[in-house]
Every structure is written in structure tokens, then in C-alpha cells.
Subunit: 146 residues, 4 copies
């Protein structure tokens, strides 16, 4: 059974300092904004930010395992971008979050991120341990009619 | 006939400010370093940096069309990373550059970038036009025995 | 005669990736936001952004000559900051722009920037030449009753 | 009695992505490099990095209280900069660290930072408490003949 994820929008006003000598957004900034959109998605769905969630549930964040990004058109400063974020797949332990970056009707780029919820675990290398996606979080992120 | 690309190393000393509240490298910085490693590859192969090449040949740079990155292990400040960069595929107009980021014998992450050489073209949207990879550049980037 | 500058507000939502391993904003990001607030001030006063102004008036931007910043309290992600920007002094060729960064009633930091309007000048080192602050810009930036 | 500080050099290779649409280094990057040079100074003097020092001595770092930076000449990618860092004043609780950024014989910019050593203190706002500069650290940072 497929459940549909909520779709959350995050707005970015591109700044002068986000752009490179070619006059366009230096691409790692798109990844930075996708990371912000990723957390914004969960907070918009009702989760607390990581600095609070770590206290109540031990969840430190959702580190990135993989990212695949396609760049279609460039953007520059003075422009406003919209990032639409959704979860396109829940796997056993990981999930795939998708970010579609647009400027009006122009598609700028899109990224597909594989992430995992982690908790602190002193016994693990790096001190973090992946957990299965908590069911209540999955429900929070599921849209009406899902 | 396959030609093998040169393999160029680029070193990164991870700084405190490159890391996030989880204490590990904030991932867009890996993409920033791969971009630096990409240009470093061409300069190490004998090309001039973009700000000089634009004058002699009109080449503005090699914008990114697509990037696919896998993150295996985290890294933190005080550590030294090596990025080994090579070109794994020459296509008609684009090419695929690979970056393998290691810390000693640990694989940290690896990225595969599809890029294209562009020149200024006032008639094009964005003012840039992709060109076929220049043959002399292809030769410069080809390793001995290639 | 003293003229009073307009006061323009710029909002920043602090992101996870803006913070360092101590869990607080990595300070160069405050400078990045002050730079964004600086351009936002001029655009809010009625100027075009630099990429348009360079075409109509040759003005490339307002490079920084000096910055003095005091950090009073730290900030972290999930918080919203306000930056109030004004011009506290017009000198013959330069001007001093002040940014006061607050979170509610908390003063986070404040910065005082000396900047100069520049135009392209191929004869100059760096290709840029400072100009006296244009009178019409000074008027645009002056508040009611100034 | 004045003691002279050691002078430690830190090298920066300016990257394409460090530069803005004007083609020159986006200034907050200079502050980022000064922060790296600040920690590099202490590590070069024999201190452990903060992530190790916090375990042995509780010292979390040296947050910035104030920074004053003057920009003399611009820099661009493909250039190598040297940052010479020293401590110009030890006060009771704080100290002033100076960074001089040069490119060959050109002075690019210089920054003067007021910093303070802090330890974790759960009772304090922000969880950090400033301490007097430890005498052994002061000695480590003092040059021969100091």
C-alpha cells in the first residue's frame, strides 16, 4: 500500500554571496538549501527540531547517505526560489526525500536524498546508530488521503 | 578504445567551521571540496584556471549538470582528507568526473559529476553555450598509457 | 546638518548547517547575513540590485573597506533573527552602515561596516574605482524627517 | 612585562567557489579562514584541537567576542594567501589575536579578534563559561625570547 507524503514548501531568497564568479548560484548552496528544506519538512509536519528531539527521543538528526541532484537551469541573486519537499519512499530503515527547486514556472534543479534517523550510541563508530523510521513520524509526514 | 584518465590528488584539512552541531562535516562542504578538486584536476593537467582560460579560449568553466554522491563514513575537524579525481567517461559533449574522498584507508564519500565545458554566448539563455570537449583538453587529461 | 537614515529590517531563520560543533552559529555566517542585509537595505530604499545597476549606472556594488563586529550572545538553529540596518554616517566617498542583530529582545551581535560605491574602471588595479556617494542614492536612503 | 607571541603561518589556496559575482573573495570567507588560522595557531603551539581538549581539560574553544577587520586589496581564485597569526595582547580573561593576510608582498586584509577560553557550565546561559587564560597555554604561545 502506498502512502502519499505531505508536500512542504520552503522559500529561498538568493543572495549576492551565494553566487560565484560566473554570476550564478555556486551549486553546493543548493545542497545547503535542500538540507534546510529537509529539516523544515519535518518541523512543518509537527516534529521538533533536532536540538529538542535529541532530549525527548534521543534522535540526533537524519544524516545523508546518498544524494542525487540534477541541475537544469541556473539562478542568480535577487531571485526567489521555491523548494517543494516530499518523501517519495519509506524503506525499512531509510527514506528518500525529494526536493524540487523552482523559480516561478522554471525548474532549477531537483535532488533526491536517502537519509536515515539516527540516535546516539557510544558503542558505535562515530557514536551514532541508525534506527527504523518511527511509525509516528511516518504518520505525521503522511498527507491527507495517504 | 578506452583511454585512461590521469588521477590527481587534492588535500583538504577539515576545519572546525566545516562541521555542524553533530560534530561532523556539514555535507555541502564535501561538494564544495569536490568542486575545488575538479578545477584542481584540470589545472594539474596543464589547463589555466577559468579566469585566464576565458581570455584565451572563451571557456568560462565546466558547470555541473548532475551529481551523485554517496556518504560512507563521517569526518570531523583536525582530520586530513585526500580527494582522488579522475575522468571516468568522455561523452560527446559532456564528461563524468569522479571524486573519491578518503582519510587514510577509510572511504569517506565518493561523488560522480557530469559536467560540460561552456563558452559565453549572448544569444543563449543564461549567456552560456555548451561545447564539445576540446580534443587537446581531452589529451591533456589522459594519463600515460591511455 | 545631520540626516537620519531609514531603518530596514531583514529576517534570518538560522539553519542547522549555519551552526558549528559547539551548536551555535559559526560567526562568519553573521557577516554573510550582514552582507545580505546591506544589499537588502539599498533595494528596500528603491535601488536596483547590483546586477541591474551595473547596466544602468555602472555601479558594481559597495565593497567592504572595514568591518567591526561585537558578539554579545550566541544563537542557534530553529531561531529567527532580525537585522536592523541603517546608515549612520555619510563621508565624502565612503559610508558607514550599521547592522543590529536581535532575537526578540536579545541583542545577538552588531556590526559596523565601512563601504564604498564602485564602478568598473579598466585602468585601475582590480578593475574597480571608488566614487563619491551619488546624491540621489543618499536621498533614497534618508528617512522621513531626515 | 611584555611577552612576545609566536607567529604562525597558515596557507589558503583561494577557490572559485570562495569568490562572488564581482570575481573576488566574498569577504566572510576571510573571516572563516581567520577562524581556521586561529585554531591552527594554538595547535601549532602544541595544544590539542577542541574536540580533544574538551575531554582532557573541559575547554570547548575560544569563542569570538569582537572582530575588527580592514580590507586593503582584493584577492581571487588561483591565488595563494598567507595568514600570519599572533597574539598581540593577553588580558585578564580575554586575549587579542591578530591575523595578517598577504599575497606575496601585497597586504590583502588584517583582522584583530578578541577571544575568550570557555568551558562547559550547565548553570550558565548558553552552557558556556569564560575562564582566565590558563598560564600553561600562555607559555606555549609565547615565542623564544618572550
Amino acid at each position: 500500500m502506498t502512502t502519499s507524503s505531505r508536500r512542504i514548501n520552503y522559500q529561498v531568497d538568493v543572495q549576492f554571496g551565494d553566487c560565484d564568479p560566473a554570476g550564478i548560484v555556486f551549486f553546493p548552496n543548493f545542497l545547503r538549501w535542500m538540507d534546510a528544506a529537509s529539516l523544515n519538512f519535518f518541523v512543518s509536519c509537527g516534529l521538533k527540531p533536532w536540538n529538542e528531539l535529541v532530549k525527548s527521543r534521543g534522535i540526533v538528526g537524519t544524516p545523508l547517505l546518498e544524494i542525487h541532484t540534477r541541475f537544469i537551469t541556473s539562478a542568480t541573486f535577487g531571485q526567489t526560489l521555491q523548494i517543494e519537499t516530499s518523501i517519495v519512499e519509506w524503506r525499512e530503515k531509510t527514506f528518500v526525500q525529494k526536493h524540487v527547486v523552482t523559480r516561478g514556472s522554471d525548474l532549477i534543479c531537483e535532488g533526491s536524498e536517502t537519509r536515515i534517523f539516527v540516535v546516539r550510541d557510544a558503542d558505535k563508530v562515530g557514536g551514532l546508530r541508525g534506527i527504523a523510521v518511527p511509525e509516528d513520524i511516518k504518520i505525521l509526514c503522511t498527507g491527507p488521503g495517504g
